[in-house]
Each structure stands twice: as structure tokens, then as C-alpha cells.
Subunit: 427 residues, 2 copies
């Protein structure tokens, strides 16, 4: 059988894994698709770099256009990352009728709809399973496994770096700064960790999951984001005392046809299955109207897990190629986008307040909650220093608009010395 | 657009759910497949039964052949269950070129290869996502999500009834008999619970998962099975003391190209993600050579979760119908089946022995293990009654053949009054 020729853009961690799987599992792959799959050309940044994989140097080029414009190549696997430049390469490849497998969450979150529209125009496949939660086939699950259902909620631990940091802080009582340093030494966090710790990476993945789950075009700007850099070990200790674990959760929430998407440090009830997802692991919890509670767990990053998803996509493209049906099952979001307003977004909140320790303080504080219609689930007051006390409050579900008013009011309340922490609560 | 007409065989719990989803989510479904999906005819056992769903009585028939032979109908959804009769209906439907969606694990485990061969001959789809683990899209995951990987181990809690019983026994210290009675009252266990509690239901599902995971034709007779009816509350208590939870696990295990499949009560280390899957929930843990550890969790049964999977399959069939590619992506197991021998099957064991309480007993027992090359991880001896003691032993990985020799030797060892329990240990 004539081999299917694949062009690879990028030979970093994931690209190396892709070659390892395609070569190592060749017999299994060709048994499934009916012909050999060959990595024909590889675009690399530097031709001279020492690599930990043996590859015929005649296959290498430092010009991605050599790969994209090779008429022998049917499928482009893009694992070089980046947005500018990469987007143009992919659009040109599609223009030339080549199918795309990509692991690029940034690109898909920011320009997914443009790329998918071009793919549809040219009847090409664009698969991107590896862009969210590495080895977990969550994109297939949302598109195919739950095609029949109405997804009401998606909660994801979709960033391994921050989950590693929060897990360590929780298990060892360590500070954010110390664990971040350790994560950087272990290679789990980058030297500039902003994209991970400030929740931007997770937000991109949630935009992709939201688009698929809600079948509407979620853009990155629709996701409200806050990161973990201000989570203190004290916060985590208080969370544990109340029976919660702190997690950086992406939450996509739907009511009727309106939705909200956010990423923020969240206190998750320990009995919830996502609360015990630890270390660099990822998990996506999906609540469907019909299917109920489900959760999908696995490695969110790393050479081989991510490459597993990339090559599974490649197998799907090649099967379509054999049948001549590429690009025909494109998923086009068909719902009008309706974002919830602050009045409609509603959840439980945890607050930690630093207050004056004198008579009537609690009454004044609870009065403010009552004024804005926020009811309370629990209130714990404990003395702190001399004339100070700390109050922990967990609210019932409250609208974001009302909570904002409460917090604003608190700013001007003289008995409150400081609003130390405010977190979303789930489970 | 011309509607796609579907025939339904069976209107029990799952059939009712299928109608609810197809009608309730009609707009979503037709947006995805490009035309309405209509349940055209429904075969029921009794025409007069009072139903908790409104259905036009002109659609009902008590003769499945009326559905199968209706030339207007393109897709048959089989949710009537059973093997004899049902198999013939499905084969005739395929013969007539109709595509099949089924939730029938018994049929697929026993006659899957015959049905799939007929489907391939007639270029028809046969999808059966709902046959294993209800709402969890594990079949798609094994076929597509992990097409690129080499699956080394599958561990499944794939029977909700037994997981409910073991969870209750563990959480409340109750006896098997009491919890079984409660499960029967709640409708979680049938009046004749044999198929569930003796592991037969789980074995059928594991045969299906093994076939897909190992890409070879696993038959039901390849699965060694034991159930939970002899698990005592004492066993569960001892398990907990040592840091394990008792679960009825299906385990499909591969080394190189050889595999073994079994279902048995298993002591699972509490830190393993599958140990905390409780109640009627199901979970399938998959270890792939490249992807590493993954787990998929959700409702394993019930009207709406199971119907979610059935209708997701229906959407897939209808999409294929529109593209004219039904039956072309059939999965044909391509590997020669090689079962492990007892010498090659190897795992940790837990033993609870009732022994005479006198000097030298432990020495004689450990001597037997040594004779058959079984090394020990831990040994705990505790006094029981007057002249008796109990010994708990956890072995390191040991071959089944050697363990059988040890147990046989123990039968004739006078200091051992009784081998109270032997369990597989995982995690």
C-alpha cells in the first residue's frame, strides 16, 4: 500500500514523541489505517541542535514552507507552537488542501474559528485533541461521546503547573513562592511562569472546551480569569479546615441558553471527584443534563501523553483520507452566543476578613450581606491579635453583581481592616 | 430536509430514555446531522402496558419484525436485551442493510464477532457504546482516543450493583447479605442477583473492552471470573486496616503480545484513583504505554446515562449515512490471540489464614512460600481465640501457578486450620 506522507512542524518535546509513536507503533497504526504512515519532512528551528532521537538529517529543514509546500505531503502535524507565523503556515497548508493536526491551544483559542472556516472551505480536517489536557481525549468526548446530551457544566483542572503548585502547598503547607521555585527547578514551571500561574493557559483551554460543550463560539475575551499567585498557605489551611481543597478551576456553566466561563482559584469540597486530582495530572469534569456526572482524568502534558493525542488525530485524518471524507464532519458552532451578566452569574463564596475585635462588628457585617440579598451558609469568628479578629464566611449561591456590591461596601466599612481573601466555592 | 427514520426494539428503561433524548434534544441533534431524527416504530413486549412516556400508539407493535422489515427505516436501535431471538433480529436487520445501535453487552460479548462480520459484509454500522459502563464513552476512547497507543492494562469497575454493595459494606461495616437485600429493595439488584454478584455481567463487559484494547478477539470464555458473594465484612475491615478498598475489578493485563483477563474481588490501594469510585458509579482505568495513567468515570447504568450513549451512537450513524460511509470504519481485531498461562499471570496476593497459635507455625508457613518462590511484602500475626491465631500476608508479585501450589500445600499443612480468604491486590 502507498504510504501516507506526513510533514511535521516542530521537533521539540511533543514532536519527538510523535516520531517515537509513529515509528514505534508503525505496525499497529498501519493495521488500523491500511497503509504505512511516514514522517516525510520535519521543520526545525535549528539544524545543528543535538537531539535525543535519531532522525535522517535529509528529512530536516529550517524552513516550514519546505514542508507545507511539498506536494507529496498530505497531512501537516503542527507542534511548533506560537501564534504569529504559525497561523499563516496553517492557513497556507489548508489553502493547499493539506489536513492539519495541531497541539496548539493558543492558536485554536484565538484563531480557531478562522482556521476551521478555512478548513471547511477547502474540505480539510483540522484536529486538535492535544490542545487541551494532553493525553485525555476530552475533545472527542465532547464532540462525539456527548453529541446527544446538553452539557450544563464543565469544570477543568487543565493546567498541570498550577495543580502541582497547589497540591504541594496543600500537602506540605509550603508557600507559593517556595513551591513555584521548586516547580521551576523540576521543569514543571517556566522561568517566566505568568501564562500558567495567572490562569491564561487554562483560560485558552476553557475557551476551546466551552466552544465544543456549548456549541457556540466562545472567545478568549469571554473568559474571566484570575490566577493563583496571591493564594497564601493560610488560605489553603483555612480551606482544608472547612473541608475544601484549593484548585485552579476552569468553570464553564450554563443555564438555559446562557453561559459563563471563568478560571479562578476555587475551594472544592473534598468529596467532589475533582478535589483529589493531584500533582501535574489534569481532569475534566462534565455534567450533562442526561448523562449526569462524569470525569476524565490523565496526564495533561509531557512528551508521550501529548503525542498520543496528536497521533490519534493523525490516525483519524488518515482514515478519512482513505474514505475520501476529510473535512465533512466539521463541527460548526450553531448556537447564538449569550453570555450571562453579573446579575445572572451565581455561586458560593468564601471570604476571609480581618476585622476589629469589638462588640457589634459581626452584626454590622452580616447586615451588609442582608442588604444585598446574600445569605450565609456559615460564619466562623476567631480572635487574631490584640484588638483584631478574623471572620471566615461561606455564602450560599449569590450573584456576582450582589457580591461585588457587598465587597465595595466593605471597603468603606471602618470595622473591616482588610478583605484578606475571596474565593469561589464548588462541590 | 428528509428526516432519518429510526426503529426502536424495546421500550423499557433505556428505550424510554432514548425517546426522551431524541424528542427533547431534537433541535440540537438535527443541527448536528442536518436533518430531523424520527423514532418511526417501536417494538414492545406488551401493547397494553401503562408507560411513563407519551407515545403515539400507532407507532407501537408487538412484533419486532414489523420494525426490522419496514423499508422506510434506516437505523435499528436495539434496547430489548436478551440473546436468543435478539441476535436473529439484528442479523436480519443487517441483512436488510440497516445500521445497528445496541446497548446489549451480552450479545456483543458472546456474538460480537459474528455480528460485526455481517455488518462489514453488508457495509453497515454497528455501534455499541452503551453496552459497557453506560454513560462513559469508553468504547470510543479505546477505538479512537487511544488508536495511537499500546494499551497495557485496563481495570474497570463496570458493574454498579456490586460496587454499591461493596461501598456500603465498607462505609457501614454491614454484611453482604444485608446490603444485597437493601440493594434489591432499592432496585439496584435483581431478585436473582447471580449475573451481577458472581461477576458474569462484569466479565461480558471486560471481554468487550479487552477486544478493543488489545485488538484481538477476546471471548467470554477467556475471562476468568469470581464474584463477591463470599466477601465478608471481616475481609473488608482487614483490607481497610492495611490501606485498601475492596472492589470487584475487571482486569485486562498485557505483557508484550500476551494478555490475561479476569474479574475478581480485589484489594485496591486507597491512593489509586479507582479505589475512591463509590456507589453505583462505574470507572475504567486505562494504562497506555505512551499516555500513562488515565481514568474515565461516570454513571454505569440508568435510563438517561445509558440513553446518552445510545443516542450519541445514533448521531454517529446518521452522520455516516449523510456522508455515505457507513460500515467503512469497522474495527477488525488484527492481532493473534495469545493468552497468558498460569505461570505468566502474576500479581500480588492477600491471604488471611486461621492457624494454630504455637511456636514455629509462622516459620513453617513462610517456608512453604519460599519453596515455591513466592516472596512476601508483609506479614501480620494476631491472636484470635484460645489456641488460635490469624495471619495476614501480602505477597510480592507471584505467578498464579506458584500461588496455586502454595495454596494446595497449605491444604495439607496441619498447623493451618483454614485458609479464610485469598484476594488479588492492586495499586
Amino acid at each position: 500500500m502507498k504510504p501516507v506522507k506526513v510533514g511535521l512542524l516542530g521537533l521539540g518535546t511533543v514532536g519527538t514523541g510523535v516520531i517515537r509513536i509513529v515509528e514505534g507503533h508503525q505496525e499497529d497504526l498501519s493495521s488500523q489505517v491500511g497503509s504505512p504512515i511516514v514522517i516525510e519532512k520535519v521543520a526545525v528551528r535549528s539544524m545543528d541542535k543535538v537531539r535525543n532521537i535519531a532522525i535522517d538529517s535529509s528529512k530536516l529543514t529550517d524552513n516550514p514552507l519546505d514542508v507545507i509546500r511539498d506536494p507529496e505531503i498530505d497531512v501537516i502535524v503542527e507542534v511548533m507552537g506560537g501564534i504569529d507565523g504559525t497561523k499563516e503556515y496553517i492557513l497556507e497548508a489548508l489553502e493547499r488542501g493539506k489536513h492539519i493536526v495541531t497541539a496548539n491551544k493558543d492558536l485554536m483559542a484565538l484563531h480557531g474559528s478562522e482556521i476551521l472556516a478555512k478548513a471547511q472551505e477547502k474540505q480539510c480536517d483540522v484536529f486538535y485533541e492535544a490542545s487541551v489536557a494532553g493525553g485525555i481525549p476530552i475533545i472527542r468526548t465532547l464532540i462525539e461521546g456527548f453529541s446527544s446530551d446538553r452539557i450544563m457544566k464543565i469544570m477543568g483542572i487543565v493546567n498541570g503547573t498550577t495543580n502541582f503548585i497547589l497540591t504541594k502547598m496543600s500537602q506540605e503547607g509550603a508557600s507559593y513562592e517556595d513551591v513555584l521555585k521548586e516547580a521551576q527547578e523540576l521543569g514543571y514551571a517556566e522561568s517566566d511562569p505568568t501564562s500558567d500561574v495567572e490562569g491564561l493557559d487554562a483560560a485558552r483551554k476553557m475557551a476551546i472546551l466551552g466552544t465544543l460543550g456549548f456549541r457556540t463560539n466562545v472567545e478568549l475575551s469571554d473568559v474571566s480569569v484570575s490566577g493563583i499567585s496571591s493564594v497564601s498557605k493560610e488560605d489553603i489551611l483555612y480551606a482544608k479546615q472547612l473541608g475544601y481543597e484549593m484548585k485552579l478551576l476552569g468553570i464553564a456553566d450554563r443555564q438555559d441558553e446562557q453561559f459563563s466561563i471563568s478560571v479562578q482559584p476555587t475551594m472544592v469540597k473534598k468529596s467532589h471527584p475533582i478535589a483529589s486530582v493531584n500533582g501535574v495530572f489534569n481532569a475534566v469534569y462534565v455534567y450533562g443534563e442526561a448523562v449526569g456526572e462524569t470525569m476524565f482524568y490523565g496526564a495533561g502534558a509531557g512528551e508521550m501523553p501529548t503525542a498520543t493525542s496528536v497521533v490519534a488525530d493523525l490516525v483519524a485524518v488518515v482514515k478519512n483520507l482513505k474514505l475520501g471524507v476529510n473535512g465533512l464532519k466539521a463541527i460548526v458552532p450553531y448556537k447564538v452566543k449569550k453570555l450571562k451578566s453579573d446579575e445572572e452569574i451565581s455561586y458560593k463564596n468564601f471570604l476571609l476578613l480581618h476585622v476589629e475585635d469589638k462588640a457589634g462588628v459581626l452584626a454590622r457585617i452580616t447586615q451588609v450581606f442582608a442588604e444585598y440579598d446574600v445569605s450565609l451558609e456559615s460564619v466562623v469568628q476567631s480572635p487574631n491579635e490584640h484588638t483584631d479578629a478574623e471572620i471566615m464566611i461561606v455564602t450560599h449561591d449569590a450573584s456576582q453583581a450582589n457580591m461585588n456590591k457587598v465587597l465595595q461596601h466593605f471597603e468603606s466599612l471602618d470595622v473591616i481592616r482588610r478583605i484578606k481573601s475571596v474565593y469561589r466555592v464548588e462541590g
